[in-house]
Amino acid sequence: MSFWNQSLEIARVDLRVERRLGDTLRIVLPFAVVALMVFPLSLGIELATISRIGPAVFWALGILFGMQVALRLSAADTQERRDLHALLGVDPAARFVGRVLSGGVLMLAFLVVLFIAMVLIYGPTLPSGSWSTVLLGTVLFSIGLTELGTLAGEITAGLRNRTALASLIVAPLALPLVIGASQSLEALSRGAGILPWVLLMLATDLALAVIGVGMARPLEEATR
């Protein structure tokens, strides 16, 4: 089976499993929406400020909860399943790409719904062109965060404290994505161009893709 077909097959099965389990959209997403509501209640701030900080809160929660979405898929991988893939001759890089594809789709769906919830709860004033900017930012953010989450999930596979450890690894290194995504919307509201921020996220995504594919084989050895 070709590299891309292997990737697509792994992504297909991951999404089918997620459709049956429903953890991302039935548990993580509602939790994230609750967190959206906790912020203004705990800060006790006025409505004008709430509507202004809405997009920033969205991206901050996007990274915190998005990490859980990204890590979930690799968390479900057992040693037996990894061995089976290895013995079937599945290219470790194809596994990485497949995981990023499925995780990216889940993350995108998660973020789109969370963004709509934020707009409803915070009532931000969004400049024209926001939706396409947010969509572009969300796509690039999803890809990058999923790549980081997949890498971190593989590096910590089988370890006792993997959830916390993987999150510790992902969070600081995801800063370029948060900055790029949030600042692109901010730039739009100032009437400035979004290109630098888009390029920043693109560079991050590409760098992580190269690392993920390049390190796939050593990573597979590392998880034995």
Partner: protein
């Protein structure tokens, strides 16, 4: 061991010289005596980035050559790096609070990148502590080292871009406008701290080498499992 003692002796002497320069250089006209913190803050940040670079180099070399000495180098540098990164961040916050009334400077990409590095180091050390097998430990942490060496510059670049497009100037001096005596004092301390780093690295890699050598051939798992005493089962 003699080599390490000599290194620490030289480091102690260099630190003493650096301290003398730091205390005798004239204070900054605006910042007063608080400006002397620069003699700890800047060298610590320099070492934080040096240590990070050495960890990255050790990681890449381990993945290429698979020799344990590269893993020892990478992990020792990470541990020493956490120390100096923490000192750099702490002194920076003390300095900022004392002089400018603000502990954290969002306009300084170096500060944010250093904070990110600190957490990456912590994650690196936590990862190593979670794995027993030395080869698995070396491989996983080497991969994290490679991920970090690509991502941290991106973090720096993204914060720098944030600063530039928000026209936020860093409140910290970039060093090049310092009076000559202060600059000399700072550079002497950079050299002293670097010697201290080398001494700490030598000691830490030596300890790691001894720990590996002491990993004796212990009881095999199978030898630890004995046949049950079937005749005594009824007495339980």
């Amino acid at each position: 061991m003699t080599r390490i003692r000599v290194l620490f002796g030289v480091a102690a002497a260099a630190m003493a010289v650096g301290l003398w320069f730091a205390l005798t250089a004239p204070p900054d006209a605006l910042q007063g005596e608080y400006s002397r913190i620069i003699n700890v803050h800047v060298p610590s940040l320099w070492l934080a980035f040096l240590a990070f670079g050495v960890t990255a180099l050790g990681s890449i070399m381990w993945l290429w050559k698979k020799k344990q000495r590269w893993d020892r180098l990478a992990s020792a540098s990470a541990e020493v790096g956490v120390l100096f990164t923490g000192i750099g961040l702490f002194t920076g916050m003390v300095w900022g609070q004392a002089v400018w009334g603000r502990a954290w400077d969002w306009g300084d990409p170096r500060l944010t990148s250093t904070a990110v590095m600190f957490f990456v180091y912590l994650g690196y050390i936590a990862l190593r502590n979670a794995v027993d097998d030395p080869v698995v430990k070396a491989r996983r942490s080497a991969i994290l080292g490679v991920v970090a060496v690509v991502q941290v510059p991106l973090v720096y670049f993204s914060v720098n871009l944030f600063r530039t497009l928000h026209q936020t100037q860093s409140i910290r001096p970039d060093g090049s406008t310092m009076p000559a005596e202060m600059l000399v004092a700072m550079l002497v301390n950079v050299a002293a701290f670097t010697i201290l780093y080398v001494a700490l690295m030598a000691a830490r890699t030596d300890i790691a080498r001894i720990e590996e050598a002491n990993r004796e051939t212990e009881l095999l798992a199978g030898d630890a499992v004995k046949p049950p005493k079937l005749s005594e089962v009824g007495d339980v």
